[in-house]
């Protein structure tokens, strides 16, 4: 009888665990493993041809014009990452610090800063595209109305400003996320520590750099890592605001767009190439995994256990 009960229990656990396991295996693990395999083959449309070894990797990294495209997109991703570290995470830390004091209206400010985060990226992209319009967009109209008309320019239409303009839209969209993660980190700092600091020093600066910043290190680890992964996966905003080719002149091209364009082709030029696309995907994937791993372990090391 106990034997039978055990089998019943085993069956019950199996019934619970197998369906979710199957979903993850079929739609996450299998495609990711396949992505690696695809990269070693030659493809014609949706048809897999011969095994070509590292040929596809060699092409996207060393053969023109792919080499320049890859480097250009990668360079833009690096710019995006560092710009957002300042605009999104840096500003997020300052806002979190301001919210942490629980000044009057803090609740309202907290809700406001997170509001853009819940919006679809597509809505944000179109909204800012309209705002950046050279003639009728509110950005140029505002500049003109406060006497800075000479600053008005086609923000998305010229190579020098397009990527920066899209980065600003991204920062507006997501700044609330690091803000509230940092805020949660600050709220976990024990009040005894803060009282002790208050006895020692009057300086706000010392307090932030020597106490608050080190103690929110776990939040920083997470926020930095997520930003890194997000910046190198960036797709939707440049896709809508710069177009699939990263216009103008590739100045808004990033790895996500370049990968998509290589894999699925685009309307104007080029055909789809699953082999080269997969090689790019594998390179991006390994780059993200390795660097994110290094960032996480490095940052973890400086976290303090309370």
């Amino acid at each position: 009888m106990p034997q039978l009960r055990m089998t019943g229990r085993g069956l019950w656990i199996t019934a619970l665990i197998v369906p979710p396991l199957a979903f993850v295996a079929l739609f996450i693990v299998y495609p990711i493993i396949s992505a690696f395999a695809y990269a070693f083959f030659d493809w014609q449309g949706l048809k897999r041809l011969d095994f070509v070894g590292l040929e596809n990797f060699h092409t996207v990294l060393f053969v023109e014009p792919y080499r320049s495209w890859t480097l250009n997109a990668f360079k833009n991703n690096v710019i995006v990452f560092f710009a957002l570290m300042v605009l999104q995470n840096g500003l997020g830390f300052i806002l979190a610090y301001a919210l942490w004091r629980e000044l009057p209206g803090a609740r309202f400010h907290r809700i406001a800063v997170f509001l853009p985060v819940v919006l679809s990226t597509i809505i944000v992209a179109y909204l800012f595209k309209l705002f950046y319009h050279p003639l009728f967009g509110v950005v140029n109209i505002s500049l003109k109305s406060i006497g800075l008309g000479w600053l008005a320019q086609p923000w998305l239409g010229q190579s020098g400003t397009a990527l920066g303009s899209i980065i600003v839209a991204q920062a507006w969209h997501m700044v609330g996320f690091p803000t509230l993660v940092f805020l949660a980190g600050m709220q976990r700092i024990p009040s005894e520590i803060l009282d002790a600091v208050r006895m020692e020093t009057e300086s706000e600066w010392v307090k932030i750099t020597k106490i608050v910043w080190p103690l929110v290190a776990p939040s920083a680890t997470i926020v930095f890592t997520l930003l890194f992964v997000g910046a190198f996966n960036w797709f939707e905003l440049p896709y809508i605001m710069g177009g699939l080719d990263g216009s103008p002149f590739g100045s808004t091209d990033v790895l996500g767009l370049y990968f998509y364009r290589t894999a699925f082709g685009n309307v104007s030029a080029g055909q789809q190439d699953f082999g080269l696309g997969s090689a790019l995907a594998v390179i991006i994937f390994l780059f993200i995994a390795v660097v994110a791993g290094v960032i996480t372990t490095r940052l973890r090391a400086r976290e303090i256990q309370l």
Binding site: L21, P31, I32, R101, G105, I111, P116, I122, L130
Partner: protein
């Protein structure tokens, strides 16, 4: 002398505090204006004609003028897209919460060989950027003949949502006390009955957190429909928006009202449930 000194320092401290708090308050107010202005301009513009938007982009509109919305209602597929988004998001959420609770319950409530390995397997999915596996996913959906079918989206979203859900719910289920369960087992209740009638009502708070964390990215997703769905009548809202924005490029009144209508459902729910939204969407990053 010492009395004056103390007094002086006290006052300086007070002023310093006021000055600092004042500055922080100014930063917060300036930021809130920056956060809300684009949304307010969007909503205001939705009630204006295109010439009105060009002439006074910041003016308060006549809110009775709903011609733009009527146009969207009658001339575009907007309602279809909205309905599709509800279907896809709803079906995915039901699957995620059902399957996620099943796995988390098995891992969190029973001791069995391999349970740690299974949990690790699920958690590995947390960090993988699935966008990069889009080519094999595309081929997989083709082989399953569900390209251009909303099932492709529902399946991918379900798989993507499971790791976070299982992570959140396993921790929660493990923390539940054993007494109720043991008592029921004494009374001869079956394992299924114990799970359904006794434990599940207790895990609702974790379900809400896991649900919100998944519902927002699924509702907002654009990438997977872009690859899987071609048929206009099957498109979800973010994807339909791109079709729609392409058709009305010069009619800014309609463009802004389209954006407003698309943003409205999630903004309204967020305003009502902001606390749960913030907790849910940052729950992966805040421990």
């Amino acid at each position: 002398m010492s009395a004056t000194a103390t007094n002086y320092y006290d006052r300086k401290g007070l002023f310093a505090t006021l000055g600092r708090d004042g500055m922080l308050q100014i930063i917060l107010i300036a930021n809130t204006v920056l956060m809300l202005a684009p949304i307010i301009i969007m909503v205001f513009s939705a009630f204006k004609t295109t010439p009105e938007i060009f002439k006074s982009p910041f003016g308060i509109p006549d809110f009775a003028q709903v011609a733009n919305f009527v146009k969207i209602w009658s001339e575009t597929n907007f309602l279809r897209y909205l309905l599709n988004s509800f279907i896809v998001t709803g079906a995915s959420m039901v699957l995620i919460l059902t399957l996620g609770t099943m796995a988390a319950y098995a891992i969190g409530r029973y001791a069995f060989t391999g349970s740690n390995f299974i949990l690790m397997f699920f958690l590995a999915g947390l960090t993988l950027p699935l966008k990069l596996a889009i080519i094999p996913l595309f081929m997989l959906m083709r082989d399953l003949s569900i390209l251009n079918n909303q099932l492709s989206l529902i399946f991918v979203y379900t798989a993507m949502g499971l790791p976070t859900t299982i992570f959140i719910m396993t921790g929660f289920i493990r923390s539940l006390p054993n007494e109720l369960e043991d008592a029921a087992r004494m009374d001869g209740a079956s394992e299924a009955r114990i799970m359904w009638a006794i434990m599940l009502p207790l895990v609702r708070p974790a379900m809400v957190i896991a649900g919100i964390q998944n519902v927002v990215p699924i509702w907002n997703d654009f990438f997977f429909p872009l690859v899987f769905i071609q048929n206009d009548s099957l498109k979800t809202l973010p994807q339909g928006l791109t079709t729609f924005m392409g058709e009305y490029t010069t009619d800014w009144g309609v463009l802004f009202s389209g954006l407003t209508l698309s943003a409205a459902p999630i903004i309204l729910i967020y305003i009502v449930l902001s606390k749960q939204f913030i907790a849910g969407m940052t729950s992966g990053a805040v421990k």
